[in-house]
C-alpha cells in the first residue's frame, strides 16, 4: 500500500511562507500530475514528499507511515530528475544498481533485478557504457531503470521529459503511461506543460502561488475549471476571457464595445444566485462558432478577422469586435481570409462565468 497523503503541509524559508497549507491525498496506484507555472510550488512539494526539502509544518504519510521527519532512503520512494542526475563516473549497470548496493542487496539478487529492468527498458546492450556515451533518450531510460529497479511504493518524477526534443517527448509520454498501466505504482509527476499534464495523469493538481487551485481528473478540470486561473492555464490556445456587465440574468453587456450576450435559460439561475453585477465570461476557442453570412439568430455578432493561423487540422482565428479580442477555433474546411468581417456566435451552453474579484467559477460556488 503506498498511498501518499499531505496534511496541512507548510513550507517556510526564513520569513517567507511559500506554501501556506497544502492538503492532498493520492490514492494507491494513481498517476497524479502536479502542474502549474514556474514558482507555483510544485517542485517544492515534490521535494518535500521525497525528503529533499524539510517540511516546516504538517504531516506527510506514505503507505500509512508517518515519514514527515524521515530521510529519503527510508520513505520507500524513487525519483527521476529533470536532468536525470546519472552518476557520470559510473557505467549504466552501476548507476542502476546503486540503490541496491547501498541497501546491501546481495549481489546475485541485484544482478537479476538489473537484468530484468534493463531488458524491459531495452538497455541490455548498454550496461557497460558511461552516461556521456549515451543519447538523451537512453540516459532517460537509465534514470528510469535506477528508479524502477527497487520496486518503490511511490514514483516521483520532476519534469523528466523537459530535456527531450518534441518527438522523443511524445514517445516517452506514451512509454511512461504504458509502464504505469503495467506496474501500477503510485506516481507523482511534476510538469509545467499543461498538455503533458492532460495526457498523462489520471488526476491533475493545478497549483499556483503555493496553493492547490483544483485537483480533479483532466476532463473535469478542462470542462469545469474551478477558477479563472485554472481555466486560463489548462487548454491551448487558452480560454478567452471577456469582461461584461450583468444587465440582467438573461443578458450580459459590454456597452463600450457594443456586445450583447444572451444567457440561455438554464444558465440564468447561477448568475442570479451569485448576485454579481459584473462577470468575466470564459469561452474556449472551440466554443466560438463561425456562422454563415447573413445568419441573424440572437447572439450573432460581426467580428473582424485580424489573423488567420492555418494549422491543417484546424484554423485559429484572431477576431476583434471593437476593443474585444478573442480567439476562435474553426474547422479546416472553412474558407476565411485576413481582414474579413464574418459572423460569430458564442456557444453559451459551454460558457463559464467567473467572479471578477475572486476568480471563482460561479457555477461551482456554493
Amino acid at each position: 500500500m503506498a498511498e501518499v497523503s499531505l496534511t496541512h503541509i507548510e513550507k517556510r524559508y526564513g520569513a517567507h511562507t511559500i506554501i501556506p497549507s497544502l492538503d492532498l491525498t493520492i490514492p494507491d496506484g494513481e498517476f497524479t500530475v502536479l502542474v502549474g507555472p514556474s514558482g507555483c510550488g510544485k517542485s517544492t512539494t515534490l521535494q518535500m514528499i521525497a525528503g529533499l526539502e524539510s517540511i516546516s509544518a504538517g504531516r506527510l504519510m506514505i503507505g500509512g507511515v508517518d515519514v514527515t521527519h524521515l530521510p529519503p532512503k527510508d520513505r520507500n520512494i524513487s525519483m527521476v530528475f529533470q536532468s536525470y542526475a546519472l552518476f557520470p563516473h559510473m557505467n549504466v549497470r552501476d548507476n542502476i544498481s546503486f540503490g541496491l548496493k547501498t541497501r546491501r542487496v546481495p549481489a546475485a539478487e541485484a544482478d537479476q533485478l538489473v537484468a530484468v529492468v534493463s531488458k524491459r527498458l531495452k538497455l541490455e546492450n548498454y550496461l557497460d557504457r558511461l552516461p556521456r556515451e549515451l543519447s538523451g533518450g537512453q540516459r532517460q531510460r537509465v534514470a528510469l531503470g535506477r528508479a524502477l529497479v527497487r520496486r518503490p511504493g511511490v514514483f516521483l518524477m520532476d519534469e523528466p521529459l523537459s530535456n527531450l526534443d518534441a518527438k522523443l517527448r511524445v514517445e516517452a509520454r506514451s512509454f511512461l503511461s504504458k509502464m504505469h498501466q503495467e506496474l501500477g505504482i503510485t506516481t507523482v509527476y511534476v510538469t509545467h506543460d499543461q498538455s503533458e499534464a492532460m495526457t498523462m495523469g489520471s488526476r491533475i493538481v493545478v497549483m499556483n502561488g503555493g496553493t492547490i487551485q483544483q485537483a480533479a481528473a483532466p476532463m473535469e478540470v478542462y470542462r469545469r475549471p474551478a477558477n479563472r486561473f485554472v481555466a486560463g492555464f489548462i487548454g491551448s490556445p487558452s480560454m478567452n476571457f471577456v469582461d461584461l456587465d450583468v444587465a440582467s440574468p438573461a443578458e450580459l453587456v459590454d456597452a463600450t464595445n457594443g456586445i450583447r450576450v444572451s444567457v440561455p435559460q438554464h444558465r440564468q439561475i447561477e448568475l442570479a444566485k451569485s448576485g454579481l453585477r459584473s462577470v468575466t465570461l470564459g469561452l474556449r476557442p472551440e466554443h466560438i462558432r463561425l456562422l454563415a453570412a447573413g445568419d441573424t439568430r440572437p447572439g450573432a455578432t460581426s467580428f473582424k478577422i485580424e489573423v488567420c493561423q492555418f494549422l491543417g487540422s484546424e484554423t485559429l482565428l484572431d477576431i476583434t469586435h471593437g476593443a474585444c479580442r478573442v480567439i476562435a477555433r474553426v474547422g479546416p474546411e472553412e474558407v476565411v481570409k485576413q481582414g474579413e468581417e464574418r459572423i460569430f456566435a458564442f456557444d453559451m451552453d459551454h460558457a463559464h462565468f467567473f467572479d471578477p474579484d475572486t476568480g471563482n467559477n460561479v457555477a461551482l460556488d456554493r
Binding site: A50, G51, L52, P71, P72, K73, I77, S78, M79, F81, Q82, S83, A85, L86, F87, P88, H89, F98, G99, T102, R103, R146, R150, L156
Partner: protein, 287 residues
Amino acid sequence: MSEMLILAHRRDVFRFTARFLGYTLLAVLLAVWSGPIVLVLITSIKSNQDFLAGPFSIPSHPTFQPYIDVWNSLGFSGLLANSFLYATAGSALAVILALVPAFALSRMEVPGKTFIFGLILTGLMLPQQTVLIPLYDTLRTLHLLDTKIGLIIVHAAYGMPAQILILRGFMTSIPREIEKAAYVEGATDFQVFYKIILPLSLPGVVVGFTLNFIAIWKEFVFGLVLLNSEQNFPVTVGMLKLNSDRYMAVFNLPAAGLVISQIPIIVLFILTYRKIASGNFAGAVKG
C-alpha cells in the same frame, strides 16, 4: 579614390606599428622574465676561468663539474629526498584533511558557515612569523622539534585552509541533482561523499595537491626554525649555505645548485601545467 588609398595606407601603417610594438613588448617581457634564468643556466656550466671572464661570456669548455661539486658538498641527495618527503606527505595530508570540510562547505547548509569561512581565511592569511614562537615551543614540548614528522604535520596544518578553498571551488561545480539522486537512492552522507563527490573531484585534488606541493617545496621559514640537524634539512634551508664567500666567489657552483633544486618542480610543472595555467583553480576565486 586617392583618399581611400591614403586611409588604407594609414591603416596598414597602424597595423604594422601595433604589431611591431607587440613584438617589442614580447621581447622585453621574455628578456626580463627568462633572462635571469638563462643566465643561471649558462653560468652553471662554466668552469672557474670562464666565470671570471665576465657575466655574458660563452663558456669555452662547458662542464658539468659545478653540478658534481655542489651536489657533493651540499649533500643534495639528502636534501632532495627530504624536500620530496615533506612536499609529498605534507600535501597529501593537507588534501586529505581538507576533503570533508570542502564537501561540507560546498554542499550543505552548515550552521555558522560564514563564521567557519572567516576562520579559514584567517588561517590562510596568517603571517608565519606570528606563529613561529609558539609553534617552536609546542613542537619542543612534544619532542617533535627537529623531526621530519613534526615538519610534515606543520606543513599539512597550514596547507589545509588553502586546500579547503580550492577543493570547495571544484566541488561546487558538481550538479546538485546528482547528490539528491544519491540521497534518494539511500546513500548516507559518507557514501555520497566517498562514492559520488570524491571521484568527481579528482581534477580538483590534482590541482590542489600540485599547488601545495610547490608551496611546501619552496617553503623556508618553518624548515629553518623548526629543524636543526643537516640530515633533516629541505633543499631551501640547505641552499642557504651557498650564500657565503666560499661559494659566491665563483658563482658557477651556486648556479648549479639552483638548477638542481628546481628540476623536480619543472618535472611536476610539465606534468600538470595544463590543469593549473588554464585557470581552473580560479574556481576557488568565485567560490
